[in-house]
């Protein structure tokens, strides 16, 4: 009888501890994002671990944007005046930068892969450039295959650059039907692209500093192709 009681106590204690672990590391609500100093420190660690950008330092955190309760976007500027961004995830009960780059060209960030309503366009570009507006594109190429005609899709979303040199916006609602229609991600029909235009509507090439650095590339990103006028209809 004593043994049985002891067993029950042990089993209860073990399962309580196990539940505690699972709760703490997986289920507990996310804590507050690190302050600017702590965020800069983590990003510096990431950028310099690569060895290629020795001595690169984050000068200022531009903003912290929470994508959902477990994901965040933090654009920054380095002491050399280069803009970049980092993506953060709440994992194992701490906020960690899942990637950081000093090449702030737009990418599609799949916050929750497979769920297009969570997809975002993120970017952080040099505001000194002579750019008037940014245009993001969803493109599906026209094709005639297996006797079936696939119309071209070309949808765009325009933003004034002066107000949005960096940002994290949800993929437009109208795009989601098409992304959702993707049967198989490995043979994606849909492409993403972007352009930077000056006030007269001409393409402006954003030079930036050309330094890029990625580390701990744990999040899902899709490249956005830089497009030019002759590639569009």
């Amino acid at each position: 009888m004593k043994n049985v009681k002891r067993m029950i106590v042990i089993v209860l204690a073990v399962s309580l501890i196990a539940f505690g672990f699972v709760y703490w590391f997986k289920l507990a609500p996310a804590g507050p994002l690190p302050d600017d100093k702590a965020a800069a420190k983590e990003i510096n660690g990431l950028l310099n671990k690569m060895g290629t950008d020795e001595g690169l330092q984050v000068e200022s955190i531009l903003e912290t944007v929470q994508a959902d309760d477990r994901h965040a976007f933090i654009p920054f500027e380095t002491d050399a005046g280069v803009r970049g961004f980092s993506l953060w995830v709440w994992k194992d009960h701490q906020w960690k930068a899942s990637s950081a780059t000093t090449d702030g060209d737009p990418v599609i960030w799949k916050v929750r892969p497979g769920d297009p309503s969570s997809y975002r366009v993120v970017w952080s570009l040099d505001p000194a450039e002579k750019v008037d507006r940014l245009v993001f594109y969803l493109i599906q190429k026209r094709s005639f295959q297996n006797e079936a005609y696939q119309p071209r899709i070309q949808m765009e979303r325009e933003l004034p650059f002066a107000e949005h040199p960096y940002g994290s916006i949800k993929v437009p609602e109208e795009w989601r039907t098409i992304i959702r229609g993707e049967v198989d991600e490995s043979e994606a029909r849909v492409e993403f692209g972007w352009r930077s235009l000056d006030s007269s509507g001409e393409d402006v090439f954003i030079e930036g500093q050309g330094q890029s650095s990625y580390l701990r590339y744990e999040d899902h990103q899709d490249l956005m192709m830089p497009l030019q006028e002759d590639e569009l209809e």
Binding site: R142, N146, P151, I153, Q154, T177, I178, V183
Partner: protein, 212 residues
């Protein structure tokens, strides 16, 4: 008592034999999205025979359970085969209602700059959904006219610059169609899997913009 045990296989053993009997080498194919497995070789039955025959009378006692397992496969195959004509009755592949079960809920999205700022005429869509005429899609021509430019003709704009948003196919069909709307509002191009269907309408289902 001993004799009875010999003749009545215990339930769990019979069940085990049944489960092993289910193993088969079968030919699998998927007509119209329904998986059909035609059992060819009763692999489980064969294994059971080889292992059970060593002891006298054991195979004889258990073989019907082994064959029950195999027969289960055949039953499933017959049911799947029967579901094919049924599915074409419930989800006729050339009926637009199979792909668009909620015409009152969909909206129009401009998917190409060749379109203009128009709205969907729900009433016109609803009225014509039943009597739409299926037409021969001329994909090759549509492709060529928008891609190839020659001396006396410039590229035509995209023929289908709109998409229906929020399309729900018939419940249970498992389809995920994309429905494009022709620039003049008088044609629907339904793409579902590898097949396409083209329907022509007598009245335009779009209003506003420059379409009227």
């Amino acid at each position: 008592m001993i004799r009875r045990q010999k003749h009545q296989a215990p339930f769990w053993k019979a069940f085990l034999v049944f489960m092993v009997g289910v193993f088969t080498i079968s030919y699998t194919f998927e007509p119209r999205g329904i998986m059909v497995r035609i059992p060819i070789l009763p692999l489980g039955v064969l294994i059971l025979y080889l292992t059970l025959r060593r002891k006298n009378g054991r195979w004889e006692r258990y073989r019907r359970f082994a064959w029950f397992g195999f027969a289960g496969n055949i039953l499933l195959a017959i049911m799947a085969l029967a579901a094919i004509p049924l599915s074409s009755i419930v989800y006729p592949s050339d009926d637009p209602a199979t792909y668009l079960s909620n015409p009152e809920k969909v909206s129009l999205v401009q998917s190409h700059p060749a379109g203009s700022d128009v709205r969907l005429d729900h009433q016109k869509l609803h009225e014509q959904l039943k009597g739409m005429k299926q037409a021969q899609p001329d994909g090759e021509m549509w492709y060529m006219e928008s891609m190839v430019e020659d001396e006396n003709q410039s590229k035509a704009p995209e023929r289908f610059p709109y998409l229906l948003n929020g399309v729900e196919p018939k419940w249970g069909s498992g389809l995920s169609p994309l429905i494009y709307v022709e620039g003049n509002g008088k044609g629907l191009l339904i793409l579902s899997g590898d097949t396409q269907y083209y329907y022509q309408l007598s009245e335009s289902i779009i209003k506003g913009g420059g379409a009227e």
